[in-house]
């Protein structure tokens, strides 16, 4: 058993890392760090602020491999004049220039003898550039830099990104990357801070209990009601009860949960005024807030659940041991509850136990309409806000929970079926 568990955990590692890499690639394929920074920096942001926002959060680092060059700041020159560049320490550096027409540039440093320039830059004298390019230079000591940009009247501005080179060892070339800095700590379940400097773990801990307050009762009550009704229909298969029961199930499956929510709120909160429309409270007071969402959650899930379990029971009812039981003269109730239910447990458990870890993920629609401060909208809001750290953390959590669910399911088989042994 222990060896099996260890093996499963080891199998899980590459899956989790793979999921992380795919999330990372997908996210930054759609949104570049520049996009994210512009989105966050607000309506009055300048290039300088955007670059600084990235640097403060590590978004200036290369994705997977750091060759030593990295941005230390960016400036925009919109008119002829001097532009103050970020101060730099000694070592190789470069200006990455984004031009849209010919400009004349002069680079100067304070102190003046700190700068050792290479072609095409010549210290202190202007150079004409016609297209975007990178200009390398070296600082022999720490200095502040200024760049004089001569722009023709009405010409578009010039974007200057200042790069500094740092001699990185082979390990640092991997560790000083956006992926590594963001992902390694996840293996210790440390989700770090989101882009607004909030602790993601704290946020998750705060949101999980309200979600559980709804999802656990919905799940438990739903299971009990669904299995009971499914057994009833299976028991009387082909009868009028079964036919109308199935019709009812299909009607429930075809109705949007929104309809039940709006109907429930109108009936129980607005007309009968028995429970609050929405809201939440910690402690025993939570009962009055969750009773309606739980009721609606159970009711809305009945259709699919009953049909699924009914099919499971029907499959069992056709087996030899059921016929034997009938021949022994057992009542139908005894056959169903004592024999068929036990044997149908494997597929039931597969569905139920794998879903247990997902109870903490909550329900988006339910939580929105009932103002329950749970996990339901956490991921969606993060995607809308382009909050990469939260998206990555939630995908990581989701993949871990899924793997945990699968392992738990395997263990549960040993409990319900003595023939199953985990090796």
């Amino acid at each position: 058993m222990t060896a099996y568990l260890a093996r499963r955990i080891l199998y899980a590692l590459p899956i989790v890392v793979g999921v992380n890499v795919i999330t990372f690639i997908l996210f930054f394929f759609v949104n570049t760090p520049d996009d994210v920074a512009r989105h966050k920096a607000g309506k009055r942001s300048t290039l300088e602020q955007i670059e600084r926002w990235k640097i403060e959060r590590g978004y200036h680092l290369p994705y997977f491999y750091n060759d030593g060059w990295q941005s230390v700041g960016a400036r925009e020159a919109n008119a002829t004049g001097w532009v103050e560049l970020p101060a730099l320490g000694p070592g190789p550096a470069a200006l990455q220039l984004d031009l849209r027409q010919e400009v004349r540039l002069t680079l100067a440093s304070d102190p003046a003898d700190a700068l050792k320039v290479e072609r095409p830059l010549i210290q202190g004298s202007a150079v004409s550039l016609q297209q975007s390019q990178r200009l390398n230079f070296t600082l022999v000591k720490g200095a502040s830099l200024r760049l004089h940009v001569a722009l023709p009247d009405g010409a578009p501005g010039v974007v200057v990104r200042v790069l500094a080179w740092r001699n990185l060892g082979p390990v640092e070339r991997v560790t000083q990357t956006l992926f590594f800095q963001r992902s390694l700590k996840y293996l210790a379940f440390d989700f770090g801070l989101d882009d607004d400097r909030r602790s993601i773990s704290q946020e998750i801990w705060r949101r999980v209990p309200p979600s559980l307050a709804v999802t656990v009762p919905v799940s438990v009550l739903g299971l009990l009601v669904e299995i009971t009704l499914a057994m009833l229909l299976a028991h009387y298969r082909g009868s009028a009860l079964d036919v109308w029961g199935r019709v009812g199930c299909i009607a429930l499956m075809s109705t949007s949960i929104l309809f039940f929510i709006i109907l429930g709120q109108w009936l129980f909160s607005q007309t009968l005024r028995l429970v609050p429309v929405s809201g939440f409270s910690a402690g025993p007071d939570a009962v009055k807030f969750v009773v309606l969402p739980v009721l609606i959650g159970v009711f809305a899930g009945l259709g699919g659940g009953i049909r699924w379990y009914r099919n499971l029971f029907l499959e069992e009812m056709g087996k030899d041991y059921i016929r034997t039981a009938r021949m022994k003269g057992l009542t139908e109730g005894a056959i169903l509850y004592r024999h068929a239910l036990k044997n149908a447990m494997i597929p039931i458990l597969t569905g139920v136990i794998v879903s247990i870890p997902f109870l903490i993920i909550g329900s988006l629609v339910m939580e929105s309409f009932f103002a329950i401060p749970g996990m339901g909208s956490f991921m969606l809001e993060a995607i809308q806000a382009q909050n990469f750290a939260v998206v990555q953390a939630m995908v990581f959590l989701g993949s871990v929970l899924y793997i945990v669910g699968l392992i738990l399911t395997d263990f549960s088989y040993t409990l319900v079926d003595p023939r199953v042994r985990l090796q």
Partner: protein
């Protein structure tokens, strides 16, 4: 069990007739740090907590700045390049330095906060101290701190003396500390992890800034490197609220950020309310600041209110609940559980009759409606750099004027906004100096009537397109979700034979197109930060062009005459001469039509009878301190409106049992039936 509670009251019984205010919020506030708070949903909270030196008068319109923590609204003293004082209101070219001296009222105390307990890391132990001028200077220095991410950094950089130098000095110090730590930790150095465990506290007193100086305990000087009269409006925003150095020191302790303890969640100020609970996903509770000074309700302005002269605030607690969906929010408002509500499209018919009067059900509940025009402008921008719709030649102007006539904004407001917003005739919205309701747009309207489609067609033909043309409309709107609007817009263009091609894209690509000037038309909007026309007209200032200079002028409008007038107007006080300049600029952009002026937003708010002093402040303000709640009346109304109807419960239960009887009989029959062979 839940139903047996038999009440739809979401609040504990102990709050029944308390003097609490109940409001809602949709989007959770991201920041409450005064250096970062800028979005409207953040400012609603921040204004109640922080006190900048000045504020807008609650009752006077047009808006007038009055002192808040300052003894008077500061007036600038101007100096030329030689340091010689310039008398009066000199032209901006002569001004090399503008100095604002701000005197504070003595005896103002901060809200109780754990940062004032020396050596404290426990949020439950709190203390206070007196506000001093140094707290304002500390905050101005914070604005320059690159780790703080102040959203108006560039604006302050351009105006405050020594701001850039201070920012560079702080950045250099940060870089030095980080480099040392990187060397110590080695290849596994992770800046975020390191600074969570060992935050960097920067003692800003070690850094000097030429533009902010403490003169004495209650006086500080703010000096600008140019004439910038709009600074007085920024002085009414939380950016310039005081921040005690103890707060930065307190939150720079290890482990604070991992517990989500920062100024964004546990702010400290001198305002009428302090934070009691901040859970942005659920509720935000503000409670009366025990140390708030004796500040009387204003006695001047309109309307005259019986509370004039009485000590504020009147409400003990302010409770904001998060409601993501409008339907439950609206239901709870009608049940009396929220004191006020906006009106969504879905609830409009329940609220207003066809004659825009409140419906009987609203009147029966004594609900009152108040509307306010928001100082904002929604517009369609033409890209003036585009070969087809851009340019300044007469035929290009005619093309844009024709489209301006064809887009029937009045119809849009009627169809999509329930007739609520106000059609725009120029860029300057109501409530801002320079707005004149008598001004019309003679290029789009004949008097008050929109010009005919025939007139638009004639202009289009004169522009060289008698058979119409194709125009691209770039948007981040969804082609499916916003289909009705986009179809309507295409129909407006079709009226004059123009085919509109909607190019829907995601938000990032849309912004990229704007930055590159790779579009013909798009829809944009802007909400003014303050009642100064500079804050709107800068959207058409040439050097703010988006494509060339990365600025907010998305139309890339660039007229030398407009630019010249703008440069003169922006540094003037509100004089008749300034008004004339603004009107010339408005006329110029009406004729050039770089925008189709769409609308100015109007907000409609509904208030219950128990909440008073609700005059709308469209620019951020500490509005909660003025509001009054009659808790007893509210409790009585809630009880009257929300009597539980429990009798259907036993009937429902009986009905369920009855429904089981046929099933039970059916089961019994089957069990008793003899086997069939």
């Amino acid at each position: 069990v839940g139903f047996l509670a038999c009440t739809n009251n979401p609040y504990p019984p102990s709050q029944a007739d308390e003097n609490y205010y109940y409001g809602t919020f949709g989007e959770p506030p991201r920041f409450l740090d005064p250096a970062k708070t800028y979005a409207s949903d953040e400012l609603i909270i921040a204004y109640q907590i922080y006190e900048p030196p000045v504020q807008y008068h609650f009752l006077k319109r047009p808006y007038e700045l009055v002192p808040l923590t300052a003894t008077e609204v500061p007036t600038p003293v101007y100096y030329d390049r030689n340091g010689t004082r310039l008398p009066g209101d000199p032209p901006s070219e002569q001004v090399a330095r503008a100095v604002y001296t701000i005197h504070l009222k003595p005896g103002i105390r901060f809200q109780n906060h754990p940062c004032f307990v020396p050596g404290n890391d426990d949020v439950t132990r709190t203390a206070t101290r007196e506000l001093t001028a140094a707290d304002y200077v500390w905050q101005i220095k914070r604005l320059a701190n690159p780790t703080v991410d102040c959203p108006i950094f560039s604006l302050l950089q351009e105006s405050i003396e020594g701001f850039t130098e201070l920012s560079k000095a702080i950045a250099a110090e940060l870089a030095r500390v980080r480099e040392e730590r990187r060397k110590t930790i080695g290849s596994l150095y992770n800046q975020e992890t390191d600074e969570r465990q060992n935050p960097i506290f920067l003692d800003l007193d070690r850094f000097d800034i030429a533009g902010a100086r403490t003169v004495d305990r209650y006086t500080f000087e703010l000096s600008l490197k140019k004439k910038y009269p709009q600074i007085k409006h920024w002085l009414s925003m939380p950016f310039f609220a005081p921040m005690p150095r103890e707060a930065d020191r307190f939150f720079a302790q290890a482990g604070m950020i991992d517990r989500n303890l920062s100024l964004d969640r546990c702010p400290v100020g001198t305002g009428a309310y302090r934070i009691e609970r901040f859970d942005p996903n659920y509720e935000i509770v503000l409670t009366r600041n025990e140390n708030f000074r004796d500040e009387p309700f204003p006695s001047e302005g309109e309307p005259v209110i019986p509370d004039a002269g009485k000590r504020m605030p009147f409400v003990d607690k302010v409770v904001y609940k998060r409601e993501k969906e409008s339907l439950p929010r609206w239901t709870k408002f009608t049940q009396g559980y929220y004191d006020l509500s906006g009106i969504d499209k879905d609830q409009f018919d329940q609220t207003f009759t066809d004659g825009m009067e409140l419906t009987e059900s609203m009147k029966r509940k004594h609900v009152r409606m108040e509307s306010a025009v928001y100082p904002s402008i929604a517009y369609y921008a033409f890209n003036m750099l585009d070969d087809v719709v851009g340019g300044y030649a007469p035929e290009r102007k005619k093309l844009r004027q024709a489209i301006s006539i064809a887009i029937d904004n009045e119809e849009f407001i009627e169809l999509f906004r329930n007739g609520r917003d106000s059609p725009a005739v120029g860029p300057v919205p109501p409530g801002i100096f320079g707005y004149d309701p008598s001004i019309v747009n003679p290029f789009v309207y004949d008097g008050r009537c929109r010009k005919s489609v025939e007139e638009a067609r004639r202009l289009l033909a004169e522009a060289g397109y008698p058979r119409g043309l194709v125009i691209n409309f770039d948007t981040a709107m969804s082609a499916t979700v916003d289909k009705s609007f986009l179809d309507w817009l295409a129909k407006q263009f079709a009226k004059i034979g123009v085919e509109l091609r909607v190019r829907s894209t995601d938000y990032n690509r849309f912004r990229e197109k704007l930055r590159k000037g790779d579009y013909q038309m798009c829809a944009m909007g802007w909400g003014a930060d303050c009642p100064d026309p500079e804050n709107i007209l800068f959207l058409l200032y040439g050097p703010n062009g988006a494509a060339k200079f990365g600025g907010p002028n998305h139309a890339n409008y660039d007229r030398a005459e407009y630019n010249r007038l703008f440069e003169k107007m922006r540094s003037m006080e509100d004089t008749p001469e300034r008004l004339e300049l603004i009107q010339r600029m408005v006329r110029m952009v009406q004729e050039d039509a770089p925008w189709v002026y769409e609308l100015h937003g109007v907000s409609f708010s509904l208030f219950h009878e128990w909440i008073t002093n609700t005059k709308a402040l469209t620019f951020g303000a500490p509005e909660m301190k003025y509001r009054r709640i009659d808790g007893r009346l509210r409790a009585a109304r809630r009880a009257e409106w929300n009597r539980a109807v429990a009798w259907p419960l036993p009937i429902m239960a009986a009905f369920l049992l009855l429904a089981c009887i046929p099933a039970f009989r059916f089961v019994r029959e089957r069990e008793r039936r003899s086997a069939r062979l």
